[in-house]
Symmetry: C2
Subunit: 246 residues, 2 copies
C-alpha cells in the first residue's frame, strides 16, 4: 500500500477530508478482470486510490480474496471491504436463489436480463462509494462497468451511469457547493479484448483476478456468462488466458 | 401487522415477487414525525406497505424503537431494520463527529448544509429501498423528505428525488422491462404545520415519534434544528405538542 496524502479536519464540523499532492479517487473493486483493470487505470491517471469492495452475500467470496491480492499488486492508499446484506432481499441466482446459467451462446447471453442480475446492486455500490468520496473530498468515482461484452445488466449501461452522476451531484455537499462528482467508466466502450489489452499494458496480472459467478477453491467453472466473456476476451486479445479452470 | 397479499416465485429464476389484491409499496421509516406521516399516507392510499428502517450508526437509536412502535400503531405488512455502517465513513455530527448545533434561529437553520448532514444518506437509503422494491415487485417507494421546513440537506430536494427516480428506472429490471418506479414524496411541498395536520387527520399519534437529533432516554433536547422545526410545526398547526422534552 502506498500513502501519499494525509487527512485533516476541515471547516465542516467533524468532517475530515483527504489532502495530498494528488487527488483522491474511490474505485469500486470486485476482484474481477474489469475492476482490476479499472484500478490500474485510476492509478495510471495519478489518483490516490481508495478501493472499495463489498461482502454482499455473493456465492463467490473468492473474488474478495482476489480484490485484496489485486490491491497489494497494483496499489491503493486504502482498501475497505464493506458488509452489506443484499442476500436478505434475495432475487438473484448470484445470491443463492436458483441456478447460475451455464454454457449459454453469445445470443443467449445478449438476450435480456439474466438470473444473475442482483437488484439495484450497482446503485447501492455507487451510493457507498459516493458517501466515502464525500468524506474524503474525492470528486472521482471509478466503476468498471462495460456496455459491450457484458451480461445484460441494466445497471451497467451509460444511461444508468449518467443518471447516477446527476443524482450524486443533486444530493451531496460536493455536488451542490463544490466541484461535483464524475462517475468514471473507462471500460464502458471497450470490448473485453480491449480491456485485456489495456490492463496487460499496465501490468495487471489477471491470474489473481476472479471473474467466475460460480468460483470454487478449485478454480473457475468456465461455463457461466462471465467465464465465457472473459475467455473470449483473452482469445481475441491474443493474450494467454491465465485463468485456472477446474 | 396486516398481511393481505402473498409471495410467489415468478418467471425470473429464483426471484420472488409479492402478489396481492392491492399493490405493494416500500416506505422508508426513520421513526420521526415526517416518515410516520408518510407511512400513514401510503396506508391511506391503499398500498400494502413494506416499511424499511436503518441502523446506521446514528447517535439517536431511540428513533428505531419509535419506528417499531409506529409500525405497530399504523400498520405494515413487514418492517425491516437494515444494518449499515455509515459511521465507518464519519463525516457527520449525527454520527458522532463534532457537536450537534443547538438553539439556532430560523435564518441560521436555513443557511447552508449543517454538520448533521450525513454524506449520501438518502441515496443509500433509497438504493436499499429500490433493491427491496425490485424483489417485491413494488413500483412505489415512499420517502418523507420535505423541502420547505427542512434542515438544508441537499438530498431532501425535489431535484435529488427526480434524479434518483431516473437512476432507478435506468438501472433496474422494473425500470427497463416493467412499469418503472415512482419515488413518492407526499410531504415535499408541505410546511411542517401542514404535515402535522395531515398526520393528525389520519390518526398518527406523534407522541410515539422521535425527531430529535440528540434524543436520550429522558426525551428530546428541544434545541436542535429538528426539535425547533417540529415544535414550530405543532404551534403553527394549533395541535398540542405531545413531545416529551427533557
Amino acid at each position: 500500500m502506498r500513502s501519499r496524502g494525509s487527512f485533516a479536519a476541515d471547516r465542516h464540523g467533524g468532517r475530515t477530508s483527504y489532502g495530498g499532492d494528488v487527488k483522491p479517487a474511490v474505485v469500486l473493486l470486485s476482484g474481477g478482470l474489469d475492476s482490476a483493470t479499472c484500478l490500474a487505470i485510476a492509478n495510471d491517471e495519478g489518483f490516490d486510490v481508495f478501493a472499495m469492495s463489498f461482502r454482499y452475500g455473493q456465492r463467490h467470496t473468492f473474488e474478495l480474496d482476489a480484490a485484496g491480492a489485486v490491491v497489494e499488486a497494483i496499489g491503493a492508499v486504502e482498501h475497505r471491504v464493506v458488509d452489506i446484506d443484499l442476500g436478505a432481499f434475495g432475487g438473484s441466482s448470484l445470491l443463492g436463489d436458483g441456478d447460475i446459467p451455464k454454457a449459454r451462446t453469445d445470443d443467449e447471453i445478449g438476450d435480456g436480463i439474466p438470473s444473475t442480475y442482483v437488484p439495484a446492486r450497482n446503485t447501492i455500490f455507487l451510493s457507498y462509494a459516493l458517501a466515502w468520496a464525500e468524506v474524503l473530498g474525492a470528486n472521482d468515482i471509478f466503476i468498471g462497468v462495460n456496455a459491450l461484452d457484458y451480461s445484460g445488466y441494466p445497471d451497467c449501461r451509460p444511461e444508468f451511469i449518467e443518471a447516477f452522476q446527476a443524482t450524486a451531484n443533486a444530493g451531496t455537499r460536493t455536488g451542490t457547493e463544490g466541484d461535483g462528482y464524475r462517475i468514471r467508466t473507462p471500460l464502458i466502450d471497450l470490448t473485453k479484448a480491449q480491456i485485456v489489452e489495456r490492463g496487460t499494458s499496465l501490468g495487471v496480472d489477471y491470474a489473481m483476478t476472479v471473474t467466475c459467478y460460480d468460483a470454487t477453491a478449485d478454480g473457475a467453472c468456465g461455463e457461466c456468462d462471465a467465464c465465457i466473456l472473459r475467455r473470449q476476451g483473452f482469445e481475441q486479445a491474443g493474450v494467454d488466458d491465465p485463468t485456472r479452470y477446474r
